[in-house]
Symmetry: C2
Amino acid sequence: MTENPVNTQRGSRDEKKAGKSHHLGRTEEGRRVTSYDVAKAAGVSQSAVSRCYKQGGNVSDEMRAKVMKVARKLGFQPNAIARIMTTQRSNMVAVIMNNSTNLCYPELLVQLSRRFDERGVHMLLFTREQEKDIDNVLDQVWQYQIDGVICAARLSQQQALFFERRGIPLVFYNYYHRDFPASAICCDNEGGERMLVDGLYRAGHRSFAIVSGHKDVLVNVDRTQGALTRLHELGIGDIAVYVGDNSYDSGGRAFRALMRSSKGAPDALICANDAMAMGCMDVARYEYSLHIPEQLSVVGFDGVAMGTWPGYKLTTIEQPLEIMVEAAVNMLMERVDNPQLPPERRTYSGVFLRGESARMDLSTC
Amino acid sequence: MTENPVNTQRGSRDEKKAGKSHHLGRTEEGRRVTSYDVAKAAGVSQSAVSRCYKQGGNVSDEMRAKVMKVARKLGFQPNAIARIMTTQRSNMVAVIMNNSTNLCYPELLVQLSRRFDERGVHMLLFTREQEKDIDNVLDQVWQYQIDGVICAARLSQQQALFFERRGIPLVFYNYYHRDFPASAICCDNEGGERMLVDGLYRAGHRSFAIVSGHKDVLVNVDRTQGALTRLHELGIGDIAVYVGDNSYDSGGRAFRALMRSSKGAPDALICANDAMAMGCMDVARYEYSLHIPEQLSVVGFDGVAMGTWPGYKLTTIEQPLEIMVEAAVNMLMERVDNPQLPPERRTYSGVFLRGESARMDLSTC
DNA sequence: TTGTAGGCGTTATCAA
DNA sequence: TTGATAACGCCTACAA
């Protein structure tokens, strides 16, 4: 009896087709096939079956062969949920982002997915618009025994502490905090803006305006502040700053506000990201008939794909996204494996993209 | 003893700050706080605690108050993984997409996330480029006891059967199959193309070319075929079809190929999606100095945000994304709650966006 | 309304 | 190398 597995009919019929076939994976009564079912059918103990699925499991070759054969026949797959119960490790990470993050950087999620997949780690995705809505996310992360968190959104100190207190590793992506230490992967915003400002200044621009992003997002503050600081160093003050929300539309709105102001168009416009820069360019060209870069230089930040399209050819700083994502994933998984590791912040320099949206002189760069 | 919970010190210190505070949620020994810990501290049974967290649980008010108070103090949160073990329901769905899907429609993921969140359902995200890589996904979905699957990518019949055999509801988004029944949410591609072709024809266009997407993606086939069929009905044959891969770049490449061919530029170019249409427009304008729409009409399909930007003002069919996403989520969760429901395909009509990239005559529309 | 006890499907420890 | 057994933390009859 034990030599004759009971319910392999359907499974084996399917096996003819694909090399790696998919079985029903259910017993006659409709239960999922468990390691116990396999054990019974193979005439071995349940723990033997379990060991066959463990990396360095102490199993003889014949045992493994016997078990695997029956397992395949029954369509057995170890139950991940039960495994989490005993190992306390879910192989799931949470990715928290703003709605707008994915709209601006769709590539980010694709790359994260790729990197985590390489490690056999699964991504639970949380997108929230409001910071307060994130409180729910925290509870879910805890309840599902998530191994670690990548956060590409703003978190309050309270919220970041939630993870720290529970020993859940957290890595910020393009966000960080001044008030307390937390691991983060960032792009060198000040350095990038400095490069842009220098190039613009050398090319002769003397009047500047800035379109910044959300005030409370440090990445944006750093960019705006980086530009302002460098401009002051160069002896240029009295710079108008218009606030957008990182979206294309908000860039256009900011530009209209700028044009309506007493100052009018500057020589150069420094935008905190590419989306807003493109919004500015379109409004400048189509509503104010300005020639770019002859009458107005525009620079952005990010290096999104659309910026390179011939309608924009945006001069900008490209974030090394693949490298940053890989670093973020490594940093997180290192801490999942070794929670003792201290917080670490890593900053990557962006790459200058020349473009044609700004007159630039990079002689000494 | 039982009246005096042992380890509430840390938890209660944290409570001072936030209205909804986050507790450590661990015992002195570092274990997670379990319902059993709460029960012991409250001097009640473990099942009483469990019942307090169940919707219509049979619990007296005083019991609930007593338990909840202790639970809050200890930072107890029910363990979702253990719950899945007994209920056989994970409240997790898988979303399977191509890498390119998120690049083309970042809004899709944001909307899905929003809708699932409303139902307290979590999204496990899988992005795969190759169809064969999806086989791994199937196993993961099974092992993690995923409740249901939204698939915005192509699946082989074998792969779709994997889910059906195991009773895991599956809803395709903008994909479907001719060979076998499966639930799907689609946009009316033929209808949309017919509308576009009619408008172009009435405006006087007589020579047409088509840029299609992947041959084996039915949505693309439908669009291309829809346009071709209508053109034939109107007595127009001999239409060149160039194949892209739905990306902006491939649109440009297709257009170059078209221009290099003996036929040269047509009156109107019908692209299977907006991204390729924009690629065509840019190459037409910037490499061939063609005026759009005077010398060339271009239409797309999808209604992506960028198409409305002043550099493109693309004439296209907008998919009612929010409605389609809501329908997909409803359709899936209905089947999670009631697996007996038969497969259903729902098709939504798109909305014509006039744009300025094509000469159009919509007199009778 | 409350408590008791069995089960969900693994992994891990310990003998054999 | 293999097998028995005890967690893991919850839900759910069933009994009180």
